[in-house]
């Protein structure tokens, strides 16, 4: 294979048009990139440091292994708000996901014709939450709201696209 490649190397070479110098040539073939070589052969000089103070600067730019905790502020520039601390006293609770977002998701199927809205991570009285949410969503709808409650796994599935409505309601309640 290698011999074949070397035989047709003249064909693979990028062609440069010599007459028009203004046109830049990228040489973006894999052949134009330099081969990997051992670090010891490098001409660049470096020194190994074991200073913990210097290492702290390296650690600062390493990505965190787990999602960091939220920093509470007086006002936020985006629409995102942290969960209110009073919500733990209610009969039901929706836990934020690990990225501190509301666990409301939409699933589409049948080429986008069926839209299901999932409210996940529900703890506590999930049936009361379903009743309250249905009451809220019904105001804007002519058709009756259909929902499936899975108490065991802790999610409610609404038939239809109510992601933003549910997120608005959750935000109002402080979840």
């Amino acid at each position: 294979m290698a011999s074949l490649a070397s035989k047709f190397r003249f064909l693979l070479k990028p062609k440069v048009i010599p007459t028009i110098e203004a046109i830049s040539c990228r040489y973006s073939s894999f052949r134009s990139s330099p081969f990997i070589h051992d670090v010891d052969d490098s001409k660049v000089k470096y020194e190994t440091s074991k200073d913990p103070v210097e290492w702290s600067f390296v650690e600062r730019i390493l990505p965190p292994k787990v999602v960091p905790n939220i920093i509470k502020k007086d006002e936020y520039l985006s629409e995102w708000r942290p969960q209110s601390e009073e919500v733990v006293n209610q009969p039901y609770f929706i836990q934020r996901n690990k990225n501190h977002m509301m666990p409301v998701y939409m699933k589409t199927s049948y080429r986008g014709m069926r839209r299901l809205t999932y409210l996940k991570k529900v703890q506590g009285d999930i049936w009361m939450l379903e009743k309250d949410l249905k009451e809220f969503l019904q105001k804007e709808q002519l058709k009756p709201i259909q929902a499936q409650v899975n108490e065991f796994v802790g999610y409610i599935c609404f038939h239809g696209d109510y992601v933003n409505a549910i997120k608005y309601w959750l935000g109002q309640k402080g979840f």
Partner: protein, 268 residues
């Protein structure tokens, strides 16, 4: 040499554990609807139970939903991924004989046949039979494995089958001591002891060596199948803390999508 290497790896584990604690400390600060599960820390050095203190267990790990479907998926995966089926049948070319045509094509008044080992024949080859070796390896998704562990730990705790001890130090090497202790505390016949590292105290190692239904296990090899296999799970305080920190790290890891990628056979 080996011992020192093991010790070194244990120290490394310990330092990693402390490091992961600091990582997960951020997660601990969150508000939770579920209260932390409070469990007594018991002793193991006397037959009579003494309560040495209380420990708060994280609700995400020890108060998870008892997802028996996920637990079943884990148990099934654990038994299947290492199972290789050696059931084997022979096809017509592998069955002995059958090289010549049993009778001429025409003129006999019988149906035409070319080999006595054709799958039509009694004693002939088997079509679509099991072929050895058949691997049943598959990989369960990462978060299904994590959820399996949290569900099983929660189930064990809710059923009062999880006990936390200060450490695994016992005064004697007698196996009768362990048997009496387990009997008096109603821990059921089979008990799994889990310590943080894989070098256990000598006494408990000798005492449980002859008892086939009492086993020791390091925290890093805790799994769903073993937790269900034994009546009671006895964990040391250090092992519990390590398991909590590792599971919280898994539940809150930053590169969750990378963990959910398709399993590659050559991955490290």
């Amino acid at each position: 040499m080996l011992c020192s290497n093991l010790l070194k790896s244990n120290l490394k584990q310990l330092s990693n554990c402390l490091k992961s604690y600091s990582n997960v400390a951020a997660v601990e600060g969150q508000k939770h609807y579920l209260k932390p599960r409070q469990v007594w820390i018991e002793n193991l050095d006397t037959i009579d139970e003494k309560k040495l203190g209380l420990i708060d267990l994280h609700p995400d790990v020890f108060a998870a939903n008892p997802r028996i479907d996920i637990i079943h998926q884990n148990v099934r995966w654990q038994s299947l991924y290492r199972y290789v089926s050696f059931a084997h049948t022979k096809v017509r070319s592998e069955v002995r004989g059958g090289g010549r045509k049993p009778w001429p094509q025409k003129g006999m008044g019988k149906s035409r046949h070319s080999s006595i080992r054709s799958p039509m024949w009694r004693g002939g080859g088997i079509i679509h039979g099991p072929r050895s070796p058949t691997s049943h390896f598959y990989m369960l998704p990462f978060y299904t494995r994590v959820l399996g562990l949290t569900s099983t730990l929660s189930v064990k705790l809710a059923q009062d089958d999880l006990h936390i001890v200060k450490n695994l130090d016992i005064p004697t090497e007698e196996s009768s001591f362990m048997q009496e202790l387990v009997k008096s505390r109603n821990w059921g016949p089979s008990v799994l002891f889990v310590d943080e590292v894989d070098i256990m105290p000598r006494n408990i190692t000798v005492a449980t060596d002859e008892i086939k239904h009492m086993n020791l296990m390091p925290a890093y090899s805790l799994n769903v199948h073993s937790m269900l296999k034994y009546d009671t799970l006895v964990m040391t305080e250090a092992a519990v803390n390590r398991v909590i920190s590792k599971l919280l790290e898994a539940l809150n890891r930053n590169d969750g999508n990378a963990a959910m990628e398709k399993f590659k056979l050559d991955q490290v």
